[in-house]
């Protein structure tokens, strides 16, 4: 199992009596794209946030490329340097321009020179289609543009793993596509990714593996076809039924 980029064993997370993650084993291979789906409150985001230590496990362990995550400043910082994270609310730094958002961490953490960081930042902004927004402040960017800057910001640290926490959930529907496109490109380039999302089409097209979480356990996992078309667990089937009902609602809304 040396091929595992992420290795989570017996992960348990509880807030008081509330068990959010119940002894989860979860692995992500190098270059794999794993998509976490499931009803809200299932623990998807919590599991994702445990991978870079934003949430602390109550019990169990997380390893990135065999390096154990410890809840100490030094270990956390070292793991996080290698793990990029993209948030639902973008969380760009509003007092910095798009380029400054991207160049900050490489200069502060990786000790890159301002020139190196800037060259790389400009290249990254180009790759997400925002070459003309280098000096724009986040407040002047659309949600989709902000999220693309946020992805570029994470990539500036040369991560070997990218975590996406519902990256399109806060976006207007017409802006979702541009963000998914950037993520798809990233997957094609071989980036290891863990994505929490409600975008089933993205899961179907990009995921190597779909993981269905429900009530703090992995109810089902496998290829997109296996999980989304032929679920075997009762939880999987009920989630699928719920999804189909939602899809139907959306179609009806569109037809109005």
């Amino acid at each position: 199992m040396t091929e595992s980029r992420v290795r989570i064993r017996a992960a348990e997370k509880r807030f008081g009596d509330n068990v959010v993650l119940n002894k989860i084993d979860f692995d992500v291979g190098k270059g794999e794209v794993a998509v976490l789906i499931g009803p809200s409150g299932a623990g998807k985001s919590t599991l994702l946030r445990c991978i870079n230590g934003l949430e602390r496990l109550t019990a169990g362990s997380v390893e990135i490329d065999g390096e154990q995550l410890e809840y100490k400043e030094k270990s956390l910082n070292h793991i996080r340097e290698q793990v990029g994270m993209v948030f639902q609310q973008f969380n760009l730094f509003p007092h910095l321009t798009a380029l400054e958002n991207i160049t900050l961490a490489p200069q502060m953490v990786s000790k890159k020179t301002a020139k190196e960081a800037k060259e790389k930042g400009i290249a990254l902004l180009e790759s997400v289609g925002l070459a003309d927004k280098i000096n724009a402040y986040p407040s002047s960017l659309s949600g989709g543009q902000q999220q693309r800057v946020a992805i570029a910001r994470a990539l500036a640290m040369d991560p070997k793993l990218m975590l996406f926490d519902e990256p399109t959930s806060a976006l207007d529907p017409e802006l979702v596509g541009e963000v998914l496109q950037v993520m798809r490109k990233l997957a094609d380039e071989g980036m290891t990714m863990v994505v929490v999302t409600h975008e089933m089409r993205f899961a179907r097209q990009v995921a190597d593996r779909v993981v269905l979480l429900s009530d703090g356990v992995i109810a089902e996992q496998g290829t997109p076809e296996e999980v989304l078309d032929h679920p075997t667990s009762t939880r999987g089937m009920s989630f699928l039924t719920q999804l189909q009902a939602e899809l139907k609602d959306m179609e009806e809304d569109e037809n109005k």
């Binding site: 870079n52 996080r80 340097e81 990029g84 948030f87 900050l104 961490a105 910001r153």
Partner: protein, 217 residues
């Protein structure tokens, strides 16, 4: 009216010295109270209970005592142990008094920055200090500028209390002249004008700073 203008003009040299002392006292107070306020804040948000308790007790005591009582305790109390001049005692007292409010202002600034900002910075591998310096601090500072200006204005006006422990600042100057000339109305009006002008200049400056930050959206 002419009498008033004459009084104003002829008292300018005397008041200038008082004004300089007031500005120096206020400047030192602001410097030390920001410094002290940040220390108190650091204790207050520290993970050690004892330090939290020390900060809370300090804030409760300082906010619970009238400024004039605090100055008297320091001046007449400390003078009996070690010799300090009135100006030093006033600086210490005013700084302590103001630091409680500074700590509160900085705390509100920090808590105004969304948690997602810290999470984003920390996710990039930035340590706590770098996150504070480059991400949370600058955003908190923008939020607290109006409150800081307000506190500076209060500190300027509060410095007049130093007159009661014989610091030769603006207000004591006006008291001396009023007593010597038997014209309290004239000279207390004049000294009020001095305060008003300085506060006006500070306010204009503050608006400039705020607008500078607003531009960046």
């Amino acid at each position: 009216m002419n009498d008033f203008i004459d009084a104003f003009v002829s008292s300018i040299p005397i008041f200038t010295q008082g004004l300089l002392n007031t500005l120096t006292l206020t400047g030192l107070t602001l410097f030390f109270s920001v410094f002290l306020g940040l220390i108190v804040l650091a204790l207050k948000v520290s993970k050690y209970r004892v330090l939290n308790w020390i900060a809370s007790t300090y804030l409760a005591i300082v906010r619970g005592i009238p400024l004039i009582a605090l100055l008297f305790v320091i001046y007449f109390g400390i003078v009996s142990i070690i010799r300090v001049d009135a100006f030093t005692a006033a600086t210490i007292g005013l700084s302590i008094h103001s630091s409680a409010y500074m700590a509160e202002i900085f705390r509100s600034g920090l808590s105004s920055v969304p948690k997602g900002q810290t999470e984003a910075a920390r996710s990039l591998g930035m340590n706590k200090l770098a996150t504070l310096r480059k991400v949370v601090g600058p955003q908190a500072l923008r939020v607290v500028i109006p409150a800081l200006v307000n506190q500076s204005i209060i500190a300027l006006k509060d410095s007049s209390v130093a007159a009661f422990i014989t610091v030769e600042e603006l207000f004591l100057t006006s008291q001396r002249i009023a007593a010597a000339t038997f014209e309290p109305l004239t000279y207390y009006t004049i000294v009020s004008l001095y305060y008003l002008v300085v506060v006006g200049v500070m306010t204009i400056f503050a608006h400039r700073v705020e607008r500078h930050y607003e531009k960046r959206g």
